[in-house]
Symmetry: C2
Amino acid sequence: MAESDKVEYRPISVREALTEMKDVSEIMIDLAYSSALFNSDELAEEVMELEKRVDYLDYIIDMNVMLAARDAEDAEHLTAVTSVAAATNKISDAAADIAAIVLKNIGIHPIVRKAFQQVEERLARAIIKPDSIFVNQTLGDLELAAKIGVDVIAIRRCREWKIDPDDEEKILENDVLIARGAPHGIDELKELASGKLKLME
Amino acid sequence: MAESDKVEYRPISVREALTEMKDVSEIMIDLAYSSALFNSDELAEEVMELEKRVDYLDYIIDMNVMLAARDAEDAEHLTAVTSVAAATNKISDAAADIAAIVLKNIGIHPIVRKAFQQVEERLARAIIKPDSIFVNQTLGDLELAAKIGVDVIAIRRCREWKIDPDDEEKILENDVLIARGAPHGIDELKELASGKLKLME
């Protein structure tokens, strides 16, 4: 992922774009089911944010593939790339469909909740407030998996996403963390992010 | 899941159908990406088989929901159920789209393979031959996870699927196992299923 959040439209290869599309669409499905299970508007909103990213990646892939085709054989093989990208985009659209139902606020039917409730781990969103102990710490320093059993699967900084962030990734004020973990750990993460809790237990 | 493979069209509740749709669509995505990564027609064919099951489940849900709506408020809440089912069906359609590209045999472009190759575990299909040591053993007896590091995520018996089968599930001749594991374990599973290998190492 990009080191700096300033470079929003940095060049990205087809391979990178397709890898990210696949990872993002899988996170979107998890987030969408979790948003339905917990009737959570905040998770549903993150699905909608990710959908914009996937649409952008799909556009980048189509553009680059068109520029890469040199002859008919090339073009035939490259259609497999755009078709896989289109299928991955469809997966993310479906996740957005589920999130849209949640955001309509007609109330999630108990049948849906029961169907999804065997999910053991929870996904959650945590927003980093200015006085959180996380500010300016790297994920490697924090060791959240070892200390509170929570895995940060994505970070959103304004419109820029860092999917599957590595240990060197530094957490900044206003970052939005998407994390996966057991309910107790998720609650602790939210309190630490909000600045209410100042120490990891 | 059904105890017997004879009862193909047993009654199934909306909750059961939706839970199964969700589980199946997730397996389909994994299988579809694996089929693209390994250019595997056999995995792509299983995706197509599962797609039929999802279509059937979607139909069952629509039917039951229509019968369940007693008034306008009820109907409004139940649209959330059919919408979630439709979104899950869309996910499985997208997985089938990827499998269809593999089955077209135009060759998977190296870009697609590179994008998917960070997948550490492999999915594979193993068909149980008459002289396999697996025949008439339950999954609990076999302890495949402990012994060869392989997890059976689904069993297909003709057109009937057992998703996430439990320990009591008995393996029969001609069963098709869909399993997840490290490459070495997967190879061993295939040899044991084919009857070439008679002992778990």
